[in-house]
Symmetry: C2
Subunit: 470 residues, 2 copies
């Protein structure tokens, strides 16, 4: 609860218009893209400057008010659900691209910039910002940084973390720190930049970022490899890499996903095959042509029933857009869509896909699987109904087995979605008590009053929600 | 001081042969490659397993004995000088390459593996480990990770940090943690992996690492661009990048450095020009040829007096080796060689080189400058004599001005050498009290008894050694 006098103090900082606590406003920010989590904040606050953020944070720290920094709320881990109430901090007034530096190949932005707007701005200048989360049309850079977002180009180009050169951030005590610089190399002390990337708003509020750009690849080609055997598709993935080719994109969609996506996108995707790989390479023309040819051979050697090269950029873009729309397409099936991102070493993709299907069958749930196969980053997804408690129990049990199996294969509980509240109970499976302990030491030292996005990353209780035998 | 009973306990852990406290042994490990720092450890200890490391650390923590993990001691920041005594921890018995995984493109190693041995091992399989610190012939991977070492290939390929996928580490409380995995994507909690990389042995002891490999580039070409004007050389550097070419190597050597290196290496380097750029590109043949041609044009447009392509790989390797030998060559001049690594955004290279020369003149010291120009990472170097106190004062004052100027240009006090003890007094210039404060919180929470490489990164007193006006 925020007292009248504290509310007055917040309004003194941001002005009447930028502190909102009507039921309607609070309701809008009571949830994010993650199903089954909802909790009302006490208010929504919209700062215009870093200085305002610092003053807000100081007040929150003094009065023990939780703060949840939020971009567009597209995360899938309940990372921006205000589970303890408090303030939701929006960046709709801190949404400017401050500078594109063509000599140092950097772009400096405020956190509220929409990812696709940034991408379009730099591409217009022949530069390239590779991280491309599927939600990039609406997600913000601040959200991407907080979640260390991945995307379809992660295999070749890495994830958000690999492109953050410098940050301005407000610590829980109100201190404003600046990390890094427009520097290819900087070892002045601990790597705070990368500690903050992916910290899910639990350590600081990010108020500005300088991102690395690379030259725009000269050209790009796209193809679809069709399989009647899921394991053959998975095998193609590791064979491509062990043939020393790193494609820009290497996506997997199984048949149930294909059907749903085709029904949504209507671009003529094959729905009569067991799986497809969406493969892209970018770079100099000769290299792209050579790599595509070699990858086509690898796919055919691994029992692809056909390999189809997109004839035009329009066709290629339709394929990419269809892939990016998978979540939206699946969300049409049933009221509740649970999309996970268990991740394994890419050599284990075939085993993992097989295990997911066995687990689904055993628990009598229907799982559609797609994802960034080249990264070993799969998105097994269930369309269900939260009101069907029996099915929800089975879904949860199935996902727990999937997490456990991913870890057994040397993988992780989350490749790119983050821990948030949703996966916090499972984090210890990946890190052990010692690893969690080390992370808690950092959290505790930065945020002793636990005001920064409480309940995220670290579970209130580490007991898992459903007990399964492993 | 280590008591007789504690010594007995250490010997119980590692055995009589692996605990050494003779004067001769202690003397050998009382210094590293950094001039002017020497301090005797109480003993040298050589564990064989992670379990032994954990037991050693626990004993040290209990008895407040400082631990200094040390690879080959090639660092240039007094990062492994045992300034508070205690134990020097060696990894000469933990020096195995545990696995090369050709499917996941990873290599798993113990910290004592020599960098070049690793590089040779993976290159024999057509794989590539890009980080190549100049000391790679003798440096260890453990040391590279602790210092986040850079090298000549940093511009295109990044630094050690960008290749560390997973770590096993012993925390100051003796806990063994495992971070990351053979995973292209992993966002399960804070990025401990990258927090530990570059933490200079102040947070943990690294006992195992899994590193990312990339396919070996198909071919490589090397050329030398000669200049009679230093600023023209610097201008070429930023013009190459703003022409959207990212070469594998883009090294700068000024005339004084060229003279010294040629006298050492005797490979026919030009010594009658003011500066050279050593430029390399690797990748598919067509791309390399195209990029080299374009870079040659850019250099000539920027007043290069000539551009010479290495005709053979032998010639190219001689050029690279000569560049890598710069420190050794400079070290022959006088008893004390002080090599720094102030780093600026690459657009500021010309200004920085000019400033270094002006500062040198003003303080009447001779500075040779060379370095990774494409990264903005310069190595201004002074050959001096520590016994000449008057000159040492002037050298120190000059370097302080260089650091201050680098920071004014948006740079940093250290691009790849680390802070260690040597640059600790200047760290606050880069980070401000808030940034130092945040890093100290992490240090304090991990290592409350300050046993892990004390006095490194954080200065005992933040007052700088010589007061200069800025």
């Amino acid at each position: 609860m925020i007292s009248t006098s504290l509310k007055k103090q917040f309004i003194e900082v941001v002005g009447e218009d930028h502190y909102r606590d009507s039921s309607a406003e609070r309701l809008v920010y009571s949830y994010d893209a993650t199903p089954n989590f909802q909790s009302m904040p006490d208010a929504v606050i919209v700062p215009r400057t870093t200085q305002e953020v610092s003053e807000i944070v100081k007040l929150c720290n003094e009065h023990r008010v939780p703060i949840v920094p939020r971009g567009s709320g597209t995360n899938l881990c309940a990372g921006t659900c205000p589970t303890e109430g408090g303030l939701v901090l929006l960046f709709t007034h801190m949404n400017r691209i401050l500078e594109v530096d063509e000599e140092n190949l950097t772009v400096t932005v405020q956190p509220g910039v929409v990812t696709l707007d940034l991408i379009n701005e730099v591409e217009a200048r022949g530069l390239f910002y590779p991280p491309d989360p599927s939600s990039m049309k609406i997600s913000t850079i601040g959200g991407n940084i907080n979640e260390n977002s991945g995307g379809l180009r992660g295999l070749k180009y890495g994830v958000t973390r690999d492109y953050v050169l410098a940050l301005e951030a407000v610590l829980p005590n109100g201190d404003i720190v600046r990390t890094g610089g427009k520097l290819a190399k900087d070892v002045a002390g601990y790597d705070l930049t990368r500690l903050f990337v992916g910290s899910e708003g639990t350590l600081c509020v990010i108020t500005e970022a300088t991102l690395k750009l690379v030259p725009m690849p000269e050209t790009k080609q796209t193809m679809l490899a069709l399989y009647q055997d899921i394991e053959a598709a998975a095998k193609s993935v590791s064979n491509i890499i062990s043939n020393r080719i790193i494609p820009a994109t290497l996506e997997f969609l199984d048949q149930p996903t294909l059907e749903v996506v085709e029904d949504f996108a209507k671009i003529g995707l094959p729905t009569d095959v067991k799986a497809v790989l969406l493969i892209e390479q970018d770079g100099p023309r000769e290299v792209v042509e050579r790599d595509m040819k070699r990858m086509e051979e690898v796919c055919l050697e691994n029992q692809a029933v056909s390999v189809q090269l997109a004839a035009t950029e329009v066709e290629a873009e339709a394929l990419r857009t269809a892939r990016r729309s998978a979540l939206s397409a699946l969300a049409r099936l049933k009221p509740t869509t649970i999309l996970e991102d268990a991740t394994v070493p890419r050599s284990e993709i075939a085993k993992m896909v097989k295990a997911i299907n066995e687990i689904a069958e055993r628990h009598d749930v229907k799982i559609c699987t797609f994802g960034h196969a080249g990264d070993g980053n799969l998105h097994p997804t269930v369309a269900t109904d939260a009101r069907d408690h029996d099915e929800m129990e089975r879904v949860e049990a199935a996902f727990e087995e999937i997490f456990a199996h991913a870890i057994e294969l040397g993988g992780t509980i989350t490749g790119e979605h983050g821990v948030g509240m949703m996966k916090a109970p499972y984090l210890e499976w990946k890190l052990g008590p010692e690893g969690i302990g080390a992370m808690k030491m950092i959290k505790q030292s930065f945020d002793p009053n636990n005001i920064m996005n409480p309940n995220k990353v670290f579970a209130k209780e580490s007991r898992k929600r459903v007990v399964i035998s492993r």
